[in-house]
């Protein structure tokens, strides 16, 4: 067992993941059983038993979602504490790029959280309707989620198993830094246009949400996430670190920056998820999701405010931009 697998946080993380996978497997078996025997019209005792079992699947998924949400933060925290063991890694960025499973794993986790949230929104709608209209869609979605989670759990073990503590990894300065003039920003933007686009998209998202043009909202939200990621890494991040050359999405998760990274990325992703799901639900199922949409807008506003505040405070203190 190499040192990585012996690290306390890694053991606790893998244990939690496998317990969740065990529960999900039970839910998977039950869902398959329900899908096979499901016939809403019939009065048979079998049908009522299946309806009761559906509640077990719902409870398991609710619990799995909350724990997976906490485990994502815990995963990043564990990776951060591993950076001492991996030579050359100063923060989580180095450890994640230790082998090629890292980035894929992080991406999978974000996707899974989105679909779990979507499943719970569908489930709430399904329970409120009187005849379980979305039952089959919901169950098939869960089966898809289960397969993705199975892959994710496999990659978890693969990722932690293959982190080599001898061969040095490149740190975030090489991963995200300016590679001798090559412009890392997408669509050939420079910093100024990136910022303009960032605030413009934010206004578009708010406008679309308030005037409830949902397709525009979905498009704007997706683009906003993409642009926000780059603007945080290449512009706002430098103000958090107060160092113009330090571009890294992970270093802000560390202790010396007061774990602000969790707040920044948390509000961005949760806000976008809630926004996307509420608009998808409104378009697809014509059900009013006002509350979720307003929470999403609040979270996105907190995110933008927080980023701008860092720049403003820096400017007020030093009187000059980076």
């Amino acid at each position: 067992m190499n040192e990585i697998l012996l690290n306390n946080q890694v053991i606790v993380y893998l244990l939690s993941e496998s317990i969740l996978f065990g529960l999900l497997f039970i839910a998977f078996v039950i869902t398959v059983g329900i899908l096979v025997g499901w016939d809403f019209g019939s009065y048979s005792e079998q049908q009522f038993r299946l309806e009761r079992r559906a509640y077990l699947v719902m409870t398991i998924l609710l619990f799995v979602f909350t724990v997976k949400f906490l485990l994502l933060a815990y995963f990043v925290f564990a990776i951060d504490s591993l950076s001492l063991l991996v030579p050359g890694a100063m923060c989580a960025a180095g450890v994640i790029s230790a082998n090629d499973y890292g980035m894929l794993l992080l991406f999978l986790k974000l996707v899974i959280l989105f679909f779990l949230l979507l499943w719970m929104a569908l489930n709430r709608y399904d329970l409120n309707a009187k005849n379980y209209p979305l039952f089959r869609i919901k169950s098939w979605l869960f089966i898809a989620i289960f397969l993705v989670i199975a892959i994710e759990t496999g990659i978890d073990f693969a990722y932690f198993g293959h982190i080599d503590t001898l061969e040095p990894v490149n740190c975030c300065s090489t991963l995200y830094g300016q590679l001798e003039g090559a412009n890392p920003l997408p669509f050939g933007l420079n910093t100024m246009t990136l910022l303009i686009l960032f605030y413009l998209l934010y206004v578009v998202v708010m406008g679309a949400a308030l005037s409830s043009q949902r397709i525009l909202f979905v498009a704007a939200a997706l683009l906003f996430v993409f642009i926000a990621y780059y603007s945080v890494v290449y512009f706002f991040g430098t103000y958090i670190y107060e160092l113009p050359t330090h571009n890294c999405p992970f270093c802000m998760l560390q202790k010396e920056y007061y774990y602000v990274g969790y707040l920044v990325w948390g509000t961005l992703f949760t806000g976008t998820y809630l926004g996307l799901i509420s608009s998808v639900m409104e378009m697809g199922l014509k059900v009013e999701q006002g509350r979720e949409r307003s929470v999403a807008l609040i979270l996105l506003s907190i995110f933008v405010l927080l980023c701008t505040a860092y720049v403003a405070v820096y400017y007020l203190r030093n009187g000059v931009f980076l």
Binding site: L6, I11, L20, V67, L71, Y74, L85
Partner: protein, 392 residues
Amino acid sequence: MRNSPFFHFLTLEFFKERKKHIGVIAISLVILFLLSSVLFISSSIRYSLEQTLEQEPDFVVQRTQGGERVSVPIEWTDGLLEIHGISSVTPRVYGRYFFKSKEDSFLVVGVDFMDEQSHKALRTIMDETDLKQFLKGENMLVGEGVSRYLKAHFYPKGYTFLTPKGAFKKVHLFKVLPKESNLIANDMIIVPIELAQEILGMSEEEVSDIAFNVPNDDEWENVEDKISSFHYDLRVVTKNDIKKAYENLYNYKGGIFLILFLITMVTFVLILYQRYSMVYSSERRHIGLLRALGWSINDVLKLKFFETMMVVVMAYVLGVALAYFYVFVLGAPLLREIFLGGVNLHNSITLVPILDFGILSSIFLIYAVPFVSAVLIPVWKIAVTDPKEAML
């Protein structure tokens, strides 16, 4: 919170099943107490060790032959001085002096008291008057473990060392090092450098190894390359190696403990599963009646969920507080031996209270996730009892 009837009913229900909850909390307390005290001790010792690393010299040059460390000729220091960027090169003399029964050993350390840098350090340990008196005769500073050991073996005032050449060196015990430095100085005897060389059987121009600092971090790699090409049997130990050694040492111990701990978690989960699914008919009728009065499965699940959360939070807070009190206030009397080894001289270091987010969240996750997953299915089984149970 106060004016929601659900919360009011929740507290009534919670206290109705007091006996069951108290039983579950008691079991969880045992598990939580054991786990968190082990993690607290290991993180506290690791924190203190990391503190000592600041004083650690950046590089140590040693000479190894046949896997065995041999003493280094003093001339090597001039070779080192020529390299740019190296500062405070200090030859060090230390070695293990085995007590007569070859069971326990002291760490004999020779310090050149004439050197002004160690003179300044000495002044922090003792005041001015003792200093002159100390430098006059054959005196030694002794760690707390050593002084206790010597007292136990009837050498209260001093100790006569037997040098390899057969001469007897009577050394007077001058002062005991402060208790706080037990972490490194528990079995340490500090003597003048010439005396140490004599006791350890080294000639005048031989030292154990040479330590030096390289203030400029970026230079560490090239300094290390330069030095390792000096001699064939030379070996360089950098500060990063030591940091990784400490990390691995406590990962190793903590990790093994956690993996063994999983076995207790499995039994804990089984106990919980059995405890929560042992439903008396009165409990079943109770929930059936609730359902008959208009509570849906969601409401009963919510009630049971909050009950479980209350049990989890209560057990967690009590467990961690108990472990905190045991480790940082009582000093973890028994459990400490796992980490301090208890071998050689008995060591009683003071554990510095250290709580960081990582430990607390690990403890919560390793406790709460198995707990709730064990309780999930029995709670669901109760929640879906058929309302017509109330009619029977």
